[in-house]
């Protein structure tokens, strides 16, 4: 017995995060009943994206070429390398800061309890880069979860072996935030990471 096209679509939609049976049904009905043109476009765009988008050879960011735009750009400095967990983090940093160095994307974080170790994050590739390139500073921009912390520690050890300075983005009270409403651990971090007033 073959699976009907409808069942196949419902099942396929459920690969998206947060999409269960009900949501899949709603999406499916919308595409088939109200927006068949959009459905066709979505199908073609997905196919094209999957076919063309790959990981950058140098930093694991998404790209259609061998190198992503940041690695390919000659205007960006190569002596500062910022380590992030996901390509979305690059976009956030690009939009919010004037960072003009290069990136390395882990596509995850060390999570031993989920069986995710150094080899799953391309850290062998990063180790080769640290040896081969003239990196002066490694900026660690991993999340502030315990897994992000474990990842930062591992990266620090890698950098130490190559005599590279390591910095970590500051963690503290959000701009416009009030101390009273800042959670305890954030406040503790902000307090221990205090800086001279300039």
């Amino acid at each position: 017995m073959s699976v009907s096209a409808l069942e196949e679509l419902l099942e396929a939609l459920r690969c998206l995060p947060g999409v269960g049976q009900r949501t899949a049904q709603r999406m499916c009905m919308h595409l088939l009943e109200r927006d068949r043109e959009g459905a066709g476009r979505l199908a073609r765009a997905l196919e094209l994206a999957v076919e063309r988008i790959r990981r950058c050879d140098q930093c694991r960011n998404f790209t259609e070429n061998t190198l992503c735009r940041y690695c390919a750009s000659e205007r960006r400095r190569g002596d500062v390398l910022c380590i992030v967990e996901s390509p979305a983090d690059i976009l956030a940093i690009e939009q919010a800061t004037g960072f003009d160095g290069r990136y390395f994307v882990l596509l995850g974080r060390l999570s031993p309890l989920d069986g995710i170790g150094p080899e799953d994050l391309g850290l062998d590739l990063l180790a080769r880069r640290l040896e081969a390139e003239q990196v002066r500073e490694l900026i660690i921009a991993t999340n502030t979860t315990v897994e992000g912390e474990a990842t930062a520690h591992y990266l620090k050890r890698m950098a130490d072996r190559n005599g590279i300075a390591v910095t970590r983005i500051a963690q503290g009270v959000p701009l416009g935030g009030e101390l009273e409403y800042t959670d305890r651990s954030t406040l503790a971090h902000a307090f221990s990471g205090r800086q001279p007033v300039r």
């Binding site: 031993p112 309890l113 502030t144 315990v146 520690h153 959670d183």
Partner: protein, 240 residues
């Protein structure tokens, strides 16, 4: 029947994202043992639980429990969160994986909870880390009712002699062997493990820590079956 619990001491062992904005917690509570809790909306940007649902943070949890999966209804920061970094953090992950693999759910284990609470700060202290881990590993075996008697020969029932040589044939305990070998250890290491004296100045034999680690590794392996701990593998690599 639904059990409602208000602000009880709790540690989160592991958590995973669930649906759009929720988290499923594997939590160790003092009075209700290891439980699964769903924290609805914990990943929403404005959730008051954000940043709290982290391992190694002393917490007070309120929840309702019915069947296998409970529902988190309140979460507050408790006192005395240890500051784990680097190797200490990795050891913390190891302990959590050990509990997740060996500790059955919903069986109250107040003594083990207290042992865990006492262990975490010691992980941050390089001198006390290894002995504290060995004592905790023994505590897990006692709690799950599978701790062997390390003071007696499992075959003959004779008391273990400090200067004799023993090996582990199975999980039942040390068995006397003719002499030193790659898989045999001196009786005093077993005795120190049984007495919780690993790391005390009285038992200062060189290599004792290493032997104790191997013995506990073997004992735990019998109970972990054919799927070894992933964190243990990483730790072995880190430390070598």
């Amino acid at each position: 029947m639904t059990l409602r619990v208000s602000l009880t001491p709790c540690w989160i062992l592991h958590r995973r994202a669930w649906r759009e904005s929720s988290v499923i917690l594997d939590a160790l509570t003092r009075d209700h043992g290891r439980i699964s809790l769903v924290a609805r909306g914990a990943r929403r940007p404005r959730s008051s639980w954000r940043g709290l649902t982290e391992p190694f943070r002393a917490l007070q949890a309120s929840f309702s429990l019915r069947g296998e999966m409970g529902t988190l209804t309140g979460l507050e920061a408790g006192d005395g969160s240890p500051k784990l970094q680097g190797l200490a953090l990795w050891c913390g992950f190891y302990v959590n994986e050990l509990l997740i693999r060996l500790l059955p759910r919903q069986e109250p284990a107040p003594e083990l909870f207290d042992a865990y609470t006492g262990l975490l700060p010691k992980l941050a202290d390089p001198e006390h880390r290894a002995p504290a881990l060995r004592r905790f590993e023994m505590a897990v075996l006692y709690e799950t009712g599978v701790a062997p008697d390390l003071t007696r020969d499992a075959k003959t029932g004779e008391p273990v002699a400090a200067g004799g040589w023993y090996r582990l044939v199975d999980e039942t305990g040390p068995v006397r062997t003719s002499g030193p070998g790659p898989e045999s250890w001196e009786g005093q290491v077993f005795l120190a493990l049984a007495g919780g004296q690993i790391g005390s100045k009285a038992v200062g034999k060189p290599g004792l820590q290493r032997d104790a680690r191997k013995i506990m590794g073997r004992l735990l392996a019998f109970h972990l079956g054919d799927k070894p701990l992933y964190t243990r593998k990483l730790l072995d690599r880190e430390e070598s």
